[in-house]
Symmetry: C2
Subunit: 211 residues, 2 copies
Amino acid sequence: MKFSKIPSATITRLSLYSRALEELLLEHVNIIASDKLAQKCGVNPAQVRKDLAYFGEFGVRGVGYFVKELLFEIKKILGLNRRWRMALVGIGNLGLALVAHENFVKQGYEFVAVFDVDPKKVGRRLPSGQIIHHIDELPTVVKEKNIDIGVIATPASQAQATARLLVEAGIKAILNFAPLQIQMPEGYIVENVDFTVKLDNLAYHLTMEAV
Amino acid sequence: MKFSKIPSATITRLSLYSRALEELLLEHVNIIASDKLAQKCGVNPAQVRKDLAYFGEFGVRGVGYFVKELLFEIKKILGLNRRWRMALVGIGNLGLALVAHENFVKQGYEFVAVFDVDPKKVGRRLPSGQIIHHIDELPTVVKEKNIDIGVIATPASQAQATARLLVEAGIKAILNFAPLQIQMPEGYIVENVDFTVKLDNLAYHLTMEAV
DNA sequence: AATTACTTGTGCAAACAATCACATAGCTGG
DNA sequence: CCAGCTATGTGATTGTTTGCACAAGTAATT
């Protein structure tokens, strides 16, 4: 499969399609056309078809897509036909909210280990069951528990060091909630979840509009 | 100013530059070249210069950019030279984490009103000071308190209805944390903060790499 | 004053992404 | 079994974004 030829925006949209299909499935909709799906996801219908075309022919001409089948295929493409084991670093307000978030588990993502530096927190058990490890135990625990993805919810000041630690422990993919750009070696991936950048976008648009 | 000609990616990067410059200011760095700034933000140096060129000439050839001055200009462009008043809807784990997040206030964003539907929560006062209003009071409170930005942290099932409520109350910009695409009338803006989409990206890359 | 070293600002080309528009294929009804 | 209808899959087109490469401007040094 030609990995490099697929636009990253396509992957993001596949994720949206998957979510929309999941919803349709609950509503017992069996068949959906690219128009409808596109509308639900706020994109162009041709875009939907082209995105899917990168990976195969999943529709039936004159009919549309079978919801269940398409969902299955998209999940396979994205790698959602398995469970992913995550480690969380930083048990502040945000960290706690993330661990408690049910959507993750529903989607196949699971926090199997959590870490913090604060001695007052280490050793305590979270409502969701995990025991808080000290960050020094990260290398050992990550290997023991076969972690796939690291999630950084530390203050910005400690985020880069945390990333290095995760990388050294063999983790290839990081979801970063700290407000800074993390530097990573070639071949590793970071995705940033950046509230303030999004807010700045809103502020800019509101400011422009007012001019 | 030609609003429409500026790439949205540029705005997002300006936000990153702003943050990097803020950091440099704390480190008492006076002057910075586009290389260094670019590296700090993980982009191409020419990109930095081009992004800035949309708005004016802020640098000195042969020298670089004065950190303080450039930061001031970028903040002016983004509309960060004022305070923004936000309303939060949905006081779950995530909502609580957001209200407690100090970075917002530091950047000029402030939660001046919070709402929920749960009668058990309504009337209580948060550690950060706000009293939880019932969602029915939203139209009144939003107008009274001159809210600029609405933040949705409700379950997905209630997000679209919440958005409509915010729009009807006169709010033009929404930050959405619920995992779905919100439909908005022309001229309104939504920014989505979407954890699971980001995770799906990571899952995809890990899956591909393994092939 | 001329030379050197440096870094911005920008025209241009290349890469990438989104959209249009239509040929193609499947289904339905007569 | 054919005609008409519908919605996919995709070649062509348009538009957008990025990055290179260099002219232009500044400062420091001789």
